[in-house]
Amino acid sequence: MKYKLKNNDALSPLLWRGWGRLFMTLAALGLLTLFLFPMWRITLIAPQYPQGVTMHIWINKIGGESKSTIQNINILNHYVGMKYIEPDAIPELKYFPYIIVGMVVLGLGAAFSNRRQLFLAWGILMVLLAAAGIYDFYLWEYDYGHSLSATAPIKIPGASFQPPLIGSKLILNFTAISMPHISGYLAGLSIFLAFAAWWLKSKFDKKHEKTAAANTAAHRLSTIA
């Protein structure tokens, strides 16, 4: 067999029985970085904003590079009649933190149980949550971009001011760039770690089972003999 290794020597450090649990623990704790760093950023760039205006989206708040970023974005948005971004009016910022804390607890529970099925289940649940979160983000962007005031000073028929979900887009005189930010990447890493934990644990379990089976067989053989 092509991938068969001699006595599994090279793979054996990878199959230390504790790797799966360690990775799962890191995956769960990694989500806490969502409370330390922004997970997403939207940067608006125009000639008169050479450094850009960067809004930061956290799991529990919306901020920016400076205290006044939201005010400055709202001032820009009001010309075309976009709604003011008022973090207090976004319920997700209130309940998402609980979901994240719940996922941390579940992840630690999975690590404690050290069962690969739970690692996998946690990883899949996280993917579903992330997908739901990104879809929710899209809906908010759609709403901000399309629900325009009827009394907007500047009206451009047919125009939408929806920022891109990810990547860059030209909106009037601004280039809007939407990208994950520090804790967004770290949450992605958490998901990866959960799947890695599952994979490592699976490898270990299979090897363990094989060894156990071999031992049993040997035992039987010896008994027979």
């Binding site: 205290k67 006044s68 005010q71 400055n72 001032i75 009001h78 000073p153 500047i154």
Partner: protein, 663 residues
């Protein structure tokens, strides 16, 4: 035939002469152009070219002379960035017109809207320019101002008592322990109604030391009472000579009329050397006299965005006769104007303005002469040192009318010569003249970035000229004053650029931009606003009446004022419009102008509150609007105040949009 033969050579000769004439005249023209426009062949243009969007390497701060202000330029481009209002009102910025800055111009004579600003001086640490503050003297009503270089705004002004004409000022010590002020006029001490021709008997000359605190705050530490000479310029010692300040004098004849003749008779005047460390000892020993005085100390508070003016009532005076070792006179030929100390602190250059020579004193020799106690004479208890014992050298026949000297980092000195209109480069120590460059025309001061500090930075020299004549497109009888930029990185000075300045640029200071730009403030944090009449949001806006005083708490944000419809104001009211700019971004000031207001506009920076006092004299509806193009909807940024007759019973009412009260 004969005549024919005779005439042909004659015509040839005529043609040849005419041709020669054309040739030479063209040649002359070429030479003139080259001489006056600099070595364009050597690509001067690219040396001063700062591409669009690029930054200059140096800031230059030029005195605005009789404009009373400081102007900020970039070098090498010569582009002007800002005029900082200091001693004169500035309607463009509302300085001296809004309620917050009026106290900045308060003096013992009341509100003075103008002064004559001469010598900007950057603060220093260890003898190097540090970019914290720049000081400048007000010459006419004696004052010193401090400008904060995080905001480029005047932060403090202190009046100098017992002085008339604060010319030898401010000239810092090497760690900005003090800035100094020396009176250019002898004045009666104390100021009193005496006959002018009792000058020699009643008049005195006062030198003042202003202590600079950690945050830059100014306080008159002491004054030194001297004979009524005219104290012209100053510079403090550095290195070994740290602890001393040198002041030039003229009119040691002590005359009070036709000074151009009467004050030019003595072959030598003096450089007064003041040992301020000794003065500190005498102060500590209580050897001062605390005398009554009356002078204004005006401080602008960046949190309240308001200035306060406090009248100070006494000043400590030291008298040299009671304080041996405090002051010495160094005889210096021919009414020395500038006194400049080389970067090592050893050489004290007296620029004898009525002479062809420069006299250089040695600090070491001065100390030796003091220790030897060999004095020529004593004037009012002040020992006069022997000229031959203090002089280190003479720069001979360099030009006519030396005024000021600055230094580069390589041991060279550069002296301006007013009468011969040139800059002369010479070697410190050997006193040999190395190079001369013409200026256009009549140079006064000259400036090398850091050129009066221990660490000159300069590869450039700026000549600050008094006369421009034909250098620019004419603008009627009044012509611009101007600066000229020279490259001094090579052996020969090279003229690069002419650029006009505001007022008359006396002295200037230069500093590499990286010592200032990291600390420049972009806007004022609104949460730190402590103005008593602030409105920190539209919900705080309101109108209040106390008798016939009306306070309007107004805000501005792109692109409206809140409130923008106000009723209930009456003829004869004193209406204070307190405008808080709610913006929190760089470069979004809002202005405010009210039709018919007998004052200037407000120009309010983000996070700031400023107040306009408006006293409407006739009923009607008065428009107001934003004066600083702030946004796409700037032109819509406007409102109305209704003014009713005094007898009217109309109630105060204010609103923004929808005709609903804001409350």
């Amino acid at each position: 035939m004969k005549s024919h033969h005779g005439i042909l050579p004659f015509i040839c000769f005529l043609l040849a002469v005419t041709g020669l004439f054309f040739l030479t005249s063209c040649g002359n023209e070429g030479a003139t152009n080259q001489g006056s426009q600099g070595a364009l062949g050597n690509d001067a243009a690219s040396q001063v070219y700062v591409a669009p969007g690029e930054y200059d390497e140096f800031y230059a701060f030029m005195s605005g002379g009789f404009s009373g202000q400081i102007s900020v330029y970039g070098l090498p481009s010569g582009r002007q960035f800002k005029v900082i209002p200091v001693f004169s009102v500035d309607p463009e910025k509302g300085y001296g017109f809004n309620e917050e800055t009026k106290p900045m111009l308060n003096t013992s004579h009341g509100f003075v809207p103008w002064d004559d600003a001469h010598h900007p001086e950057l603060s220093q640490t260890k003898g190097e320019t540090d970019g914290r503050w720049i000081f400048i003297n007000g010459n006419n009503t004696p004052r010193i101002a401090r400008i904060d270089l995080t905001t480029f705004e005047t932060a403090e002004i202190i009046e100098i008592p017992n002085s008339g004409g604060n010319h030898s000022s401010p000239f810092t010590t090497e760690n900005t322990e003090y800035v100094v002020a020396g009176t250019r006029f002898g004045v009666p001490y104390p100021q009193s109604d005496v006959a002018i021709n009792s000058y020699a008997e009643n008049f005195k000359g006062m030198l003042t030391y202003v202590k600079i605190g950690k945050e830059g705050e100014m306080d008159i530490a002491f004054q030194v009472l001297l004979p009524a000479f005219d104290y012209d310029l100053a510079h403090s010692g550095k290195g070994n000579s740290h602890g001393w300040t040198f002041f030039t004098t003229y009119n040691t004849e002590e005359k009070n009329s036709l000074l151009e003749v009467s004050a030019s008779q003595n072959d030598k005047d003096f450089i007064a050397a003041v040992n301020w460390k000794k003065a500190e000892e005498y102060l500590a020993q209580g050897k001062f006299k605390e005398v009554p005085a009356n002078y204004a100390h005006n401080v602008y508070n960046e949190k309240t965005h308001s200035a306060t003016s406090t009248m100070m009532k006494t000043v400590k005076v030291l008298t040299p006769a009671d304080c041996p070792g405090l002051v010495y006179f160094l005889p210096t030929p021919k009414s020395p104007h500038g006194v400049d100390v080389d970067p090592t602190g050893e050489y004290i250059i007296g620029n004898g303005k009525l002479s062809a020579d420069l006299t250089v004193h040695s600090f070491t020799k001065m100390i030796a002469a003091i220790e030897a106690g060999s004095f020529e004479t004593t004037i009012a208890g002040i020992p006069v040192l022997k000229f031959d014992e203090v002089v280190a050298g003479v720069v001979k026949d360099a030009g006519l009318g030396p005024l000021h000297t600055e230094f580069d980092a390589n041991g060279n000195a550069y002296t301006s010569f007013f009468i011969t209109s040139e800059v002369v480069k010479w070697r410190v120590g050997t006193w040999e003249v190395l190079d001369k460059a013409a200026t256009f025309y009549s140079i006064g001061h000259l400036m090398i970035p850091g050129g009066d500090s221990k660490k000159p930075q300069g590869k450039y020299l700026v000549a600050l000229n008094k006369i421009t004549k034909d250098r620019y497109l004419p603008t009627g009888p009044e012509l611009c004053h101007a600066a000229q930029l020279y490259d001094i990185s090579g052996d020969k000075m090279k003229l690069l650029l002419d650029f006009p300045t505001i007022g008359e640029p006396h002295y200037a200071q230069g500093i590499s931009a990286d010592r200032i730009t990291p600390n420049v403030k972009k806007f004022y944090a609104i949460e730190e606003n402590e103005h008593p009449f602030k409105a920190l949001g539209e919900k705080d806006t309101r109108v209040e009446r106390q008798g016939n005083t009306v306070h309007i708490y107004m805000t501005s944000i792109r692109s409206h004022f809140a409130p923008d419809n106000i009723e209930g104001v009456k003829v004869g009211d004193k209406v204070y419009i307190h405008l808080t700019n709610l913006e929190q971004d760089w470069d979004v000031p809002h202005g405010l102008a009210v039709m018919g207001a007998n004052t200037a506009e407000l120009l309010v920076m983000p996070g700031q509150t400023e107040t306009m006092l408006w006293e409407p004299t006739a009923e009607g509806v008065y428009p107001f609007y934003c004066t600083d193009f702030c946004s796409a909807l700037h032109q819509e940024m406007q409102g109305y105040i209704r003014v009713s007759p005094q007898s009217s019973s109309i109630a105060l009412k204010w609103s923004l949009g929808e005709e609903e009260p804001v409350q």
